[in-house]
Symmetry: C2
Subunit: 198 residues, 2 copies
Amino acid sequence: MKYYQREGLLPEGVRSAPNQVDYGDAHVHRVRLIRALLETGGLSVAATKDVIAALDAEDAPLAETFRVAQHAMATPRTADSTPSDAARQRIATFARSQGWEVTDDNPGIDAAARALDGLRAIGFEAPDSYLGAYAAAAAAVAAADLRALSSLATPDQVAELMVVGTILGDPLFAGLRRLAQQDVTRTLFPTDAKRAPS
Amino acid sequence: MKYYQREGLLPEGVRSAPNQVDYGDAHVHRVRLIRALLETGGLSVAATKDVIAALDAEDAPLAETFRVAQHAMATPRTADSTPSDAARQRIATFARSQGWEVTDDNPGIDAAARALDGLRAIGFEAPDSYLGAYAAAAAAVAAADLRALSSLATPDQVAELMVVGTILGDPLFAGLRRLAQQDVTRTLFPTDAKRAPS
DNA sequence: CCAGACAGATAGTGCTACTATCCGATAGTG
DNA sequence: CACTATCGGATAGTAGCACTATCTGTCTGG
């Protein structure tokens, strides 16, 4: 609490007296937002601070707020290990083949490229069909986010959901994916013995 | 290197002499796997160790190896903050409405429930249509993973891709989602001013 | 008018993922 | 056969992050 204020991600309360401070609904709301970003979104305190600041910048264009949210997700524990150029190239080219208009500084390129490198490290060269399935799913999710956004009333709500949805959408999808995976693998391996000696 | 061996996630090399050790292709491969899991997958060293151990357990059923991989992803920095029962219930019920057969200990339930709680904290009650879009995308991705698995030759490769795909699929999807989002928001806000005074 | 609570500041803690240093043995070299 | 440079193994130390505890002074409510 004090810590969060000190770190600059929670505004000071209104002083009702020289040593008394009042916290209102806005503060409670803000704390919940911070905790969701930190605990569920997995953001670092520094990244959260950036996001909060972008959210509070009333005059910034929405696209800029969004950009900050996207970059915030890249920071946590992936600052090291740059992906190979080949993988970055592959992702960038692939994105364009999907008809997506993306900029080179989109952190998603690096994230996806790193994953591609990792798969390659174990000898799996992801075919276009594999990437395509992921891309189609990503597009569907992005469209759902957009629909959710358009159902909101005030611009403040839109900005907030845009940021929080960008960040919490990942764990939401990841969780559902694990559920879907369990179902799918269940059908694949009724009860199996692994790696029987050929 | 030494550190990884000490932590038990890298086997010792073959001793060519009392104080000389030989590292072969298997070791190089293993190191690459470890680094992919750690850096790209965002797993902790302890979680990686569990995954590696499961991968090396030749007699374990594939489903068990998979279960370990799923749980490993839940550990990193989300041990705290349990989701609300309501959200867990919602996800569990929803999964079943999708026709998925899932167990209560699937860590995906908690992950998705936490995300739901976070969205709720900012006042967004995710409608079934929103969840449905995410679920459909998750199912599509899980199916693509399965197809990729079935294209492989040896059971060892299958186990490895299953684990690595489970873990690296998240960042791969997250990256692509960010690319799709950029494209989608571009069409939404050509050039906008945010939160104009009503 | 005084006990207790509160704000603010400073210092300390616990955890994780490494990294540096030391030591003793041995393998290669002249 | 001696010497040195290197390697493996063990131990201790470091750095960053997210807090948490304590201390101090001031003010408020009974």
